[in-house]
Each structure stands twice: as C-alpha cells, then as structure tokens.
C-alpha cells in the first residue's frame, strides 16, 4: 500500500483537523486568526495541486491502490488515480484554493470562521474522495462526506432564515438522491457480487451478454436519479435555485462550479463503467434529458432579478451542456466521435467551473458592497466598481461562449463532436444547444447592460471598489482563464486523456 496516493484526500482532511484544533485553542474571533485558517486551507489545497503535478509525470497508466483488510479480493477500499480523476481534482483544487483566498475578506464579518474553513476543506476532501474512489462503498462514503459538508455550508449563516430553509431543502432532496444511489449500487452488487466498479462492468458484460433486462434498467434509472439530484438535471434541480444563492458566495462558487460536477462525474462514471461494455445506447436518453435541462434552465434564468439565482439557473443550463457532451459515451456511436464529445463534456466542466466560479465570486463582491442581490438595485454599479464588473463581464462572456475565452473552446469541442456524429438526434440537439446558448447570452447581456450602461442609482452613490483582497482571487481566475484562452490545446490534451479513461479506452 502506498499512502502517497491518497494524500490528496488526507491533506485536506488533516488541514481541517488542524483548523478545528486551532479554532478550539483560539476561542476568540480575530482577523489574524482568520488569516491563519485561510493560509492553512490554502496551503493544503496548494499541496494537493503540487501532488497532482508529481502524479502527472507518473500517470502513464491508471494508478490504483487497494486498502484491503486481508478479507478477500474486492472487499477493501479501492482508490484510483487516473487521468480523469487527476483532471477533476485539478479543477477542484484550483477553484477551492481561489475560494479560500477570496473568503479571507469576504466572511470576515461572520462568526465561526474556523468552521467555515474546516467545512470547506472537508468539502474538497469529499469531492476528491469521490473522484478517487474505485469501489462503490468508498464512493458512497465520500459522497456523503461531501454532501454533509455542503449542507452545512449552505446553511452557514444560520442566523438568517433563508440559508436554513435552503439548507434543509437541499438536505432532504439530496438525501433522496443518496438513497437512490445506494439502491442502485446495491442492485449492482446484488447481480455481480462485487463492489469494485470496474469489475461490475466486466461481469455484467460477460454475464448478460444477451442484452440488458429490467433490473439493469432499474439500476440505470436509480443511478441517473441519484446522481442527477446532485448534478441538478431537470426535474431534479429544484433544490439548486434555493441552495446556491443562499450560501456565502465563495461556497456558491464551489457548489455551482464543482460540487455539481461530482454528481455528473458519478453518474457518467458509474454508468459507463457498468454498462458501456454491454454496448448500451441509453446515451440518447441522457441527450434528451440534457436538452430539457438546457431549456428549463434558460427559461428560469430569463426573468431573474436575483443575480445569484440567475447564475444558479445558468448552472442548470450548463449542466445540460455538459451532459450533452458526456451522453455520447453511451450511445454506441462511432467511438472516435464519442471520444471527442466526452472530451468536450469534461472540458466544459473545467471552463464552466472557471467562468461560473468567477461570476459567483464577482457577484459576491458586489453583494459584499451593497448587501443586496437584486439586479435592479445594482443598476449602474459598473461605474463605481469597474474592476469587479470587468471580471464579471469576462466571466459572463466566457459562459456565453465568446471566443477566445475558455467557454468558447469547450463549446466548440462539443459542437464539433455533434456535427461529426452523423446522427440526427445529435444534429437536432446541437441546434437546440446553440439556441440555448444564444438565449443564455440574452440574460448575461441583460446583467451586463444593467450593470454597465445605466446611470448609477442614488443609493449606490458612495459605493467603492471592492477591497483588493477580494479582487486578487478574482483576477487570479481571470488570469487562469486567459491562459486557457491562449493555449486551449494544452488543456485539450489533458482532457483527452481524461476522456479516454471515461470511455474505458
């Protein structure tokens, strides 16, 4: 056993423990203590990034390890580190790190800051654990770790009624999802007798070579629904518009940017692992779910006045985009084309995390100043805080898919795949995809023009630019985005390796 491989999980957890202890020691809230927590959290996440870099050099093949307790094969916990995992952990770490810097200033007025950072680290550790798990049990354990951390973070400002309500809603619905996941996994275990995800696939393929039957479809449905709740596919998305705006903005960025994507990962990873070897074409169902998700997300976002809620709905839209790309893995279409599509999906997770993360952080910066989430109360604020709004503009333009920002490259990737697919469902789908993209531009523009082109309102007269501590993380993300804009090819190579893993190549 090589413990080094699970360091990405252990380090954040260790950091969380340290912060917890320090929090007990400190007793008192003070700015310097806040800084200490943040630095610890950041060091942990940067350490994860560093480990990732060392991993990358040795990632010739899938690295995996098994923490077995000498009971028998396929019993212990299995961890893996392949390109897909690596890619997602990278995204989590980058965004987590930025959010932890951002939070230094952002939550300095709150109580219980130690717990904030503690939960943040546990959240990240949970997510990393989910993507590193190689067996169903481990996956489920980390899934719950992550979920619980996120429930608490959503309801972090417990003095106010809204976070509490949102957190409870989130908790209930997520719990339903967890149950469904557990149900599906149990069934899978029941028909195969193994917990190892990769083995389940091979066993189903050999055992049920004649075709899938009812129980398989029940498994598929449970997994889609279970992970789909977290991934916020329609109609399982209803918790999202409450939970994301209610959370502190840094946490909103995390939730919208990456936590949702673990749901997507879980769904696609389990489905492909279990059923792709059987040559199933359930991908088309996922395609249409994706299309519905896009449309519904758009319709809900169109008339939003609450900036964070609008961004949350835009996340639903982007979930649709990502699912659109990933769905082709399960369609039985030409493998080369499907690979392109899946690659586009994984890439869009990254570009969306950057764009949406930045958008939420910038929105948070505005809210930090004016303490209001209503767009109509923000009209003309661009004149007052140009740097913040510029960052928001870049984020929204990237989400809108304007070249050469990152969002464009990932959308291009999906478009290329769909056009190459030679399948009418994808042809129709891609038209709807781009139309949805246009409609999303509508509300991004509405936001931009309200912020930029109106005369500043009376109550905004004394608003000042965001403090530099908040601007720095924003512009860190901007710089990352610009790097992606200039050398998307470099990132595509990474994503391609990830996609190959996802396609079980």
């Amino acid at each position: 056993m090589n413990v080094f491989w699970i360091l990405p999980i252990i380090i954040p957890l260790a950091g969380a423990a340290l912060i917890g202890i320090l929090g007990k020691i400190a007793k008192k809230e003070s700015a310097s203590w806040n800084l200490v927590y943040a630095v610890i959290a950041n060091i942990c996440l940067l350490a994860v990034l560093g480990i990732l870099i060392t991993f990358y050099t040795s990632l010739g093949s899938i690295l995996s390890t098994e923490l077995s307790w000498n009971i028998g094969p396929d019993v212990g916990a299995t961890f893996k580190m392949d390109h897909l995992t690596w890619w997602l952990v990278l995204v989590f770490a980058i965004l987590g790190s930025v959010v932890s810097i951002y939070s230094i200033k952002y939550i300095d007025q709150d109580d219980r800051i130690d717990r904030y950072y503690l939960l943040l680290l546990i959240l990240v550790a949970g997510m990393i654990g989910v993507v590193m798990s190689g067996d169903m049990l481990t996956l489920f354990i980390f899934w719950e770790t992550m979920s619980i951390a996120s429930y608490v973070l959503v309801a972090f400002r417990k003095e106010q009624p809204e976070p509490i309500e949102a957190g409870i809603k989130y908790l209930f619905m997520s719990a339903f999802g967890s149950v469904m996941i557990l149900f599906g996994m149990s069934l899978a275990y029941g028909i195969t007798g193994t917990l190892n995800i990769a083995s389940v696939g091979t066993i189903i393929a050999t055992k049920f070579a004649s075709g899938l039957s009812g129980v398989h479809y029940i498994i598929i449905a449970s997994l889609i629904i279970g992970f789909g709740v977290k991934a916020a596919i329609v109609p399982l998305h209803t918790w999202l518009p409450d939970a994301h705006p209610a959370a502190p903005s840094g946490i909103s960025a995390m939730l919208s940017g990456v936590v949702i994507m673990t749901g997507m990962y879980g769904m696609i990873y389990t489905l492909t692992s279990f059923f792709r070897p059987t040559g199933t074409n359930i991908g088309f169902i996922l395609l249409w779910i994706a299309v519905i998700t896009m449309i519904v997300g758009n319709l809900l976002a169109l008339r939003q006045n609450d900036l964070k809620r609008l961004l949350a709905f835009s996340t639903v839209l982007n979930v649709g985009f990502i699912l659109f790309g990933l769905s082709m893995a399960l369609t039985g279409l030409d493998q080369d084309v499907a690979l392109i599509s899946v690659q586009g999906g994984w890439f869009h997770i990254f570009t969306h995390a950057l764009g949406k993360g930045l958008a939420f952080l910038a929105a948070g910066a505005i809210i930090y100043r004016i303490e209001d989430r209503g767009l109509d109360r923000m009209e003309g604020i661009g004149r007052k805080m140009p740097w913040t709004i510029t960052a928001l503009t870049i984020a929204l333009l990237s989400l809108a898919g304007v070249p050469p920002l990152p969002g464009f490259w990932s959308k291009l990737n999906i478009v290329l795949a769909a056009v190459s697919s030679g399948n009418w469902q994808y042809y129709v789908g891609i038209v709807l995809f781009l139309l949805s993209s246009v409609i999303s531009v509508v509300y991004y523009l509405i936001v931009l023009q309200k912020l930029w082109f109106s005369e500043p309102q009376e109550h905004l007269k004394d608003v000042k630019e965001t403090p530099i501590e908040i601007l720095i993380p924003l512009y860190v993300l901007v710089i990352v985005m610009l790097i992606v804009s200039i050398i998307p090819g470099r990132f595509e190579i990474l994503v391609k390796q990830a996609a190959e893993v996802a396609m079980l190549l």
Binding site: F176, I225, V229, V234, P235, I285, I289, V442
Partner: protein
C-alpha cells in the same frame, strides 16, 4: 496620331477646364472681396470656359477634315479593366472617329462655345459661378466624351456625366423655391419651372429610368457578345442571332431604345423636359440643342446599323417591330408635344415642347428608315440621314431660339408670353434671329429646318411607296405635327414681338429707365452667328451628306456599301433624297394650314383668343387638355404620391409591424414563457419532491417500456 490626340483632346480639354475652374474660384474666393486680382481671376475663369469649348471645337474641326479625307476609325484602345483569366474584360477605353461622332462633337462644341459666350453676360450677376462654369464645361466635355467613345460602356459613362450635369444645372438656382410637396404644382401647372431643385430631380430620375433600360440592354449584349465595342459588335453579328434564339432580341433592342426614350424625352418619359428649362437659359439651350437630348438620338443612330443589318441582312424579321416601335414612339411624341406646345403659356416652355416634338421627328425618321428595304445590297440611307441631319439643324435653330428667348426674358423680366408683346421695335437684334429660328423650326423654305424635316417626310413617303402602309400613317402624323408646329411658332412669335406693348413690358421699361436695356453684344453676336448657321445649313445639306457617307469603318464592317449617297446637287432635289415633288407640295400645304390661322389669331389679332376660350366649351376643353399636358403629368405625380404612400404604409405595416414585430414577439414570447414557467418553481419542498418523483417515474417507464 493627330487624329487620336484630337479625338481625346476635344473632350479632355473641357474636362480639364472644368477641374481648373473651382481651383481658380477657390483662390479668388480667398482674396479680398472686390480686389482687382479677384476680378481678373474671375474674368479668366469665365473666359476659360469659352476658350476650352472653342479649343474643343477646333480639335473637332481637325477631325472633320480628317473624316473628309477618309481617315477615321478607332484609336487609343486600352484595357480599362482587368482580364478574367484568359477572357479579356473587354471594356476597352478608346475613341472612335467617324462621321456621326464628329458631327455631334462639332455642334456640341461649336454651339457650346456660343452658349458660353452668351453666358458670360447672361450670368454676370450670379454669385456661384464656380459651380456654373464647372458644370457647363463638364456638360460639354461629357457630351463629346459620350459620342467619341468606341464602346457602349464608355458611352454610358458619358451618358451619366451628362445626366448629372443637367441635373445640377437645371437645379442651378436651387434656393429659389423650396422643395415642397409636388402636389402644389400639379394643380398650378404654370409655376413648376420655379422649383428648380425639384425640376432637376425630376429630370434625373426620369432619365434614370431610361438609363436603367439602356444599361440592361448594354449588359445583355455584353453577356452574349462578350464585348462592348461598336466595331466588334458590327463586324460579327452572331450575337443578334444568339439573342434571337433566346427570344430576347427585340426586348434587348427596345431596352437599348429605353435610354434614348428617357434622355431624349420621348413618350412615355417625356414629362421631364418641359421642366428642364427651369435652369438658366443657357443651360436650357445646351440641354435642348447641343447636348443631353441629342445623346438619345446618338444612341439610336449608333445602334441603327446593327439592327438594320439584322433585319435586312440576317433576315431577323422580328426586328421590324423594333423599328416600328422607334418610329411609333417618335411619331406619337411629335404629335402629342406639338399639341401641348399650342397651349403653353411660358415662352421657354413652348420651346421645350417643340424640342420634344422635333426629337420625335428624328426618331420617326430613324425608325422609318430602318424599315426601308435595301436595294441591290445597298443600304438605304434615307432614314438614317434624315434623322441625323435633323439633329444637326435642330441643334442650331433650337440653340438660337433658346438664346433669343433668354434675351427676351432677361429684358422684360417675365416668362409668360401673355405678358410680353410689341418687342419687335425695341429688340431688333433679337427679333430677327428669333424669327429665322422660328421659321426654321416650322420648316419654312429654304431654312435648315425645311431641308431636314423634308428629308424625314421623304423617308416616310418612300416607305409608303415601297408598299408598307405604315409609311403613309407616319407621313400623316408628321404632316399634322408640322402644321401644329407652325401654329405654335407663330403663336409665340406673335405674342412676344407682335401687337402692342403690355402693361408688364411698360412697367419693365419704367424700371430700366424709360426703355429696355440695350442687348449686349455678348448676347446678340451668338444669335447672329446661329441665325446665319440656320440659313446656311440647309444649303450645306449635300456636304453634310457627303460627310456622313465617309463611314469607312462602317462600310468595312458590313457587306453594305454607303455609296448610295449622291453628292450631285441636282440629284439632291431628286427622289433618292426623298425630296420629291409630291411631298414638297404637300409640305407647303401643311405649312399654310398651320400658319394661316395662327397668323390671324396671334399676329393680326383678328379674334380675341380669350373670348374664344370663354365661349366655346369644346375649344376650352381641348385647350385645357393640351395645357394640362394630356394630364400625364398629373398621372405620374399621382402614381409617385401613391408610391410614396405605399412605401410608407409598407414600412409602417410590414417592416415594423410584421418583420420587426415578429422578432420582438419571439423575444417577448420567450421571456413570457420564462415568466410563466418560473411560477412552477414555488420552492415548496413537497412540490419539488413531486416533480422529482414524476421525473423518476417517467424515466423508469421510458427505460423499461420504450425500446430504443
């Protein structure tokens, strides 16, 4: 070499003068107001225009000599455009020296020079002479450029330069009256001439309709023949057969004729020319006599051999419809405008109608000529020559008439013939030239107009004798129009110079200190020169005929020879030329029919015309009908107004309310559906769970029961 450079110089020099004019004007404008240098510069500017047109005239005279010597043809051909692969973009830039081009160039520059001289005095009080001289020189240069060109495209360029200059010159006094609703002067017909800006606009747009047709025709020919050059088109006539096979030959020919219809103000585009005299009189003279309207004749004459050969050599019978159309349009216009001329109340307007009418004659001559069969491989030249010759003689006498009219109007400060009278004694230097011009217009022996008009009669008669009944009809039309012409000529001459002085004239005399100002030599000398020209040109007909026969490139390009021309003076009065005894006597008869009633009505004033109009409803009706120009102007304006209303209606109701609205409907529909859909998201946990369960059930159902 001399030939080439002369053929270029005669348009390049007026152009150069035009370009220098504003520079001199600009410098003069910068100098101190009223300083000596400024005055000198302005005099230089004015006389430079005379000089450039005169130099152009001299160069043209060199070409005349050349043509008489049998030289001529194309020169200075360079590719104006760029090749498309191997295929040349066959739009060369060159000049063509042949009798037709030199003929028009000579009277354009010659008469142009006289008009320039006249203009120096006539326009001396104007403040914006830079513009005036620029446009005048541009106008003459453009006209010569148009005729000297060796291909359609280049001609079209000149065609549009002329069109633009006429637009700008007609609207020269553009600040006179506002561009108001045209409704006003469709009701008060008389004052239309004051709306200079509107008149120019009308001229440009109306001729533009013709230009559109011409350009289409040119381009169709280009598409089929692959060239714009006249000589190439004539030497290889297969394009005619090609077009005929596509069944668009007559259409193309008529499209080409569309340009002349607009430019030379033929029915149905004739209504712009009467307003074109809104500009300074010099401009009217230039438009009506030397340039602009003659461009139309030029284009028909230029294409005449092509279609003639198509009809008679390639035996494409359909082409006779083309010639019939040309003749019919010409004949109808000649007649119609003559009737309008009898009732016009403004001096220049009468002349304008007469121009339209005379141009109709020319087209009639050309159309009729095209129908006459060749004899023994020899092309019949009757119509061709008749049209061209009438163009020349008309140029001279019409310039004369306009310039004299200008002198009269200048003196008495009115343009209405009712308000003039008794000027014969006071303005002899204007009266006599104008009389000569008027008589020539009516076709009185032995003035130029007689010979040229007679040759058209002859052509019609000839056609009739050949057994084509159309000839007789055209002859009749020509005869009636000629009678009307004499009628209105006598009418305006009588009104102007005959009878007693009117109150208005007396008032003008009082204003000018007891008697009318003496006519300046700069005004009357050109008149005299033109009057002499009018007399002489008739007798020079054989020379002109000889000149026109020197069409070497034409002869070389066809099987037809042009030796049908007889220079022999004795033969000139013979049948070939069309001046046969029957037509001669008929002509005399016609002239008397027109002349006598007019003489008694307007010179002797036997009867009071106003009384007649008041008493007789029929006469009054006819008079009003003519006076209102057969209501065609009304009809056009009605259509235009309706068109504008339609455009506005379309804009309001279609573009804004349908197309644009539909975008907004889509947009707001999306927004609305967003609004409605948002209501389903209540945020109530149980409802959310309901959705979730529904979704789960549907998903499971789909997975289990729908095969895919």
């Amino acid at each position: 070499m001399l030939l080439e450079s002369a053929a270029i110089m005669n348009w390049a020099i007026p152009f150069a003068g035009a370009l220098i004019t504003p520079i001199i004007g600009f410098i003069a404008g910068k100098l101190k107001e009223g300083s000596q240098t400024q005055k000198v510069l302005r005099i230089i500017r004015n006389w430079m225009a005379v000089f450039t047109s005169f130099v152009a005239f001299l160069f043209t005279m060199l070409l005349v000599v050349d043509v008489f010597n049998g030289q001529g043809g194309e020169a200075f051909v360079t590719n104006w455009f760029w090749n498309i692969g191997d295929k040349p973009f066959a739009a060369g830039f060159g000049v063509l020296v042949d009798p037709l081009t030199v003929l028009i160039a000579s009277f354009a520059s010659g008469i142009g020079t006289l008009i320039m001289i006249y203009g120096i005095n006539y326009m001396k009080d104007d403040k914006h002479l830079d513009r005036y001289w620029f446009l005048m020189q541009m106008f003459i240069g453009g006209m010569i450029f148009l005729v000297m060109s060796n291909n359609f495209l280049q001609s079209f360029v000149g065609w549009e330069i002329v069109g633009f200059c006429s637009y700008a010159l007609i609207g020269y006094f553009f600040d006179k009256k506002g561009p108001q609703d045209p409704k006003e002067f469709t009701i008060k017909e008389e004052t239309e001439g004051d709306y200079n800006a509107h008149a120019g606009f009308k001229a440009f747009i109306t001729t533009r309709i013709g230009d559109v047709m011409l350009l289409t025709g040119i381009l169709i020919i280009f598409a089929v023949a692959g060239t714009f050059r006249y000589t190439e088109l004539l030497s290889d006539l297969t394009w005619l057969s090609d077009l005929h096979d596509k069944k668009i030959l007559v259409l193309t020919a008529v499209l080409i004729f569309g340009g002349p219809i607009g430019k030379s103000a033929q029915f149905p585009l004739q209504f712009w020319l009467p307003e074109a005299m809104a500009g300074p009189t010099t401009v009217s003279a230039l438009i009506h006599a030397a340039a602009m309207v003659k461009a139309g004749i030029f284009m028909v004459v230029r294409t005449y051999p092509m279609f003639y050969l198509g009809l008679h050599d390639l035996h494409i019978e359909n082409l006779q419809y083309y010639f019939l159309i040309v003749a019919a349009v010409g004949g109808f216009t000649a007649l119609m405008s003559a009737t309008m001329g009898t009732s016009a109340t403004e001096l220049k307007k009468v002349l304008a109608f007469s121009t339209v009418s005379q141009l109709g004659y020319m087209f009639m001559g050309l159309g009729v000529g095209g129908l006459i069969e060749p004899v023994g491989g020899v092309m019949d030249y009757n119509g061709y020559f008749a049209g061209s010759f009438h163009m020349l003689s008309h140029a001279i006498f019409k310039a004369l008439l306009f310039l004299s009219a200008g002198a009269v109007i200048h003196a008495v400060h009115t343009k209405y013939i009712d308000e003039m009278g008794g000027l014969r004694k006071d303005m002899p230097k204007v009266f006599w030239p104008m009389l000569i011009g008027g008589l020539s217009l009516s076709g009185v022996v032995p003035l130029g107009g007689f010979f040229s008009k007679e040759s058209i009669f002859g052509a019609c008669w000839h056609l009739g004798e050949e057994g084509n009944n159309a000839g007789w009809i055209f002859f009749a039309v020509a005869a009636v129009a000629a009678a009307l012409t004499f009628f209105y000529t006598i009418r305006f001459l009588g009104h102007t110079f005959g009878g007693k002085k009117t109150e208005h004239v007396e008032k003008a005399e009082k204003e000018q200190g007891g008697h009318l100002h003496k006519t300046s030599p700069l005004l009357w000398v050109p008149l005299v020169i033109l009057a002499v020209g009018t007399i002489v040109i008739g007798f020079l007909a054989p020379v002109v005929e000889l000149f026109m026969s020197k069409n070497d490139w034409f002869a070389a390009a066809t099987n037809f020879t042009v030796e049908a021309f007889h220079i022999d003076y004795a033969h000139f009065f013979g049948h070939t030329f069309g001046f046969s005894p029957p037509t001669f006597w008929i002509t005399i008869g016609i002239l008397l029919t027109g002349c006598l009633p007019a003489y008694f009505l307007f010179v002797r004033k036997q009867w009071d015309t106003k009384e007649i109009l008041k008493k007789s409803k029929i006469v009054n009706g006819i008079y009003t009908f003519f006076h209102r120009r057969w209501y065609m102007n009304h009809a056009i304006y009605w259509c235009l107004r309706k068109f504008k209303v339609f455009a506005e209606w379309l804009y309001e109701n279609f573009d804004l309310k349908v197309i644009d609205r539909s975008n907004y409907i889509i947009a707001s529909g999306t927004m609305k559906s967003g609004e409605v859909f948002r209501k389903t998201h209540t945020g109530i946990l149980s409802v959310n769970f309901l959705y979730m369960l529904l979704g789960a059930i549907i998903l499971i159902a789909v997975l289990l029961f729908i095969p895919f």
